[in-house]
Symmetry: C2
Subunit: 231 residues, 2 copies
């Protein structure tokens, strides 16, 4: 403890005390100035340590009320969501992309509600495949809101996947994402080269920009694909 106390020292020390039971779940932690005195450092240093603990879901902080050890540790795992091309490359495989279908059409029934579209809106539907070492990796079906991104209507998506095109167009956007298990449809299974009905993971991703829904995608992964979360 005689070593110079940086924010990581403080964070680790508090973590250790929590894991050893010295600070029990639900317990009130010392206030920042007290910890600063104990560790002989500035309050800002303690503040950063505690802020990170709060971000990690370990403690809960409230003004006036102080910091408490989270009684129900909601673990915040991280899910990294790279471009499929990068994801495949990171596995050391050769990536290949193939456009299957592209059409401008009206949104189907459920889509208008999901993407908050008019029934009169036009959307671009793109179906495509991603391969890793020539093995089917992912079948993608995507709808793009042409009211929000009219330029998409003229992009061919022959060479560049809609996802890559979209991130280059608007690199930042809100996203929500969910995963569900389902039986592979006739269509998806034929592209993934598996038997229809095989259990697969379907990822649904919806992207928003400034409150407007940009795109909705269903990604059907090849059986055996793992979604991996860290932390």
């Amino acid at each position: 403890m005689t070593a110079p106390a940086n924010f990581r020292t403080v964070k680790d020390a508090v973590l250790r005390r929590i894991s050893e039971g010295q600070y029990a779940p639900g317990a009130l932690l010392p206030i920042e100035t007290e910890l600063a005195r104990e560790f002989s450092c500035a309050r800002a240093t303690v503040n950063r340590a505690m802020r990170e603990l709060a971000e990690d879901g370990i403690i809960d902080r409230k003004r006036r009320a102080g910091s408490r050890v989270n009684a129900h540790p909601i673990r915040n795992a991280r899910l990294s969501v790279p471009l499929v091309r990068i994801e495949v490359a990171e596995k050391g495989a050769v990536y290949r992309y193939r456009m299957i279908e592209r059409e401008i059409c009206r949104p189907y029934d459920g889509l208008t509600a999901r993407m908050a579209l008019d029934a009169k809106s036009k959307v671009l539907r793109v179906a495509c495949m991603h391969y890793a070492d020539n093995a089917p990796y992912l079948y993608e079906e995507r709808w793009i809101n042409l009211d929000a991104i009219p330029e998409a209507g003229t992009a061919s998506f022959d060479v560049t996947s809609p996802n890559e095109w979209l991130v280059s167009k608007s690199p930042l956007s809100d996203m929500n994402m969910s995963f569900v298990a389902e039986a592979a449809s006739e269509r998806a299974s034929s592209f993934l080269e598996v038997e229809a009905g095989t259990p697969v993971i379907a990822a649904e991703r919806q992207t928003w920009l400034a409150g407007a829904s940009i795109t909705f995608a269903r990604l059907i992964y090849h059986p055996g694909y793992r979604v991996i979360a860290h932390h």
Copy 2:
């Protein structure tokens, strides 16, 4: 811009410039002191803004080399992993837990490698069910390393689920987690009250404390369960 510039102002401004293309993917951003001058704030303020952008995966920072807009935006989504009891309660349903089976045994073949156990180690195997409003929610099969947590050998797990018991025992631990789609086994499907072979999501969670493997769990969710990530 005459408003007092706090770190959020700076962060949002840089975000806006990235999304508007003023700072293109791969481009070098101004150095901290320059941004501090532009926004009339301290460098520490800029630093916090930029640090958060880096944590969010938006930019990439290197000493001496400066900060660059990430060319391949790896979106970091967050996955909140609460206790099943809390997860069910948050959905407004009544939670119920039922212990099914509990035995002390030797690790099966794959488990020794996965948990880095001796073949002579003893593990506690617990099978249990979680219900939401009396509907099957999750079938759990778990192995606990008794060399690491010998007290688990005397816990009954009749009332408290192994997960809750473990987090109260050691609230902090490293975890890794993955999700895969599979056909429900005869056993899992009978507890989940679905037809065998139904596609389900299986979550595999492994927990480590100080380098030692504490527990490994396979959580088989009821069909239709969604893993939801935010960001």
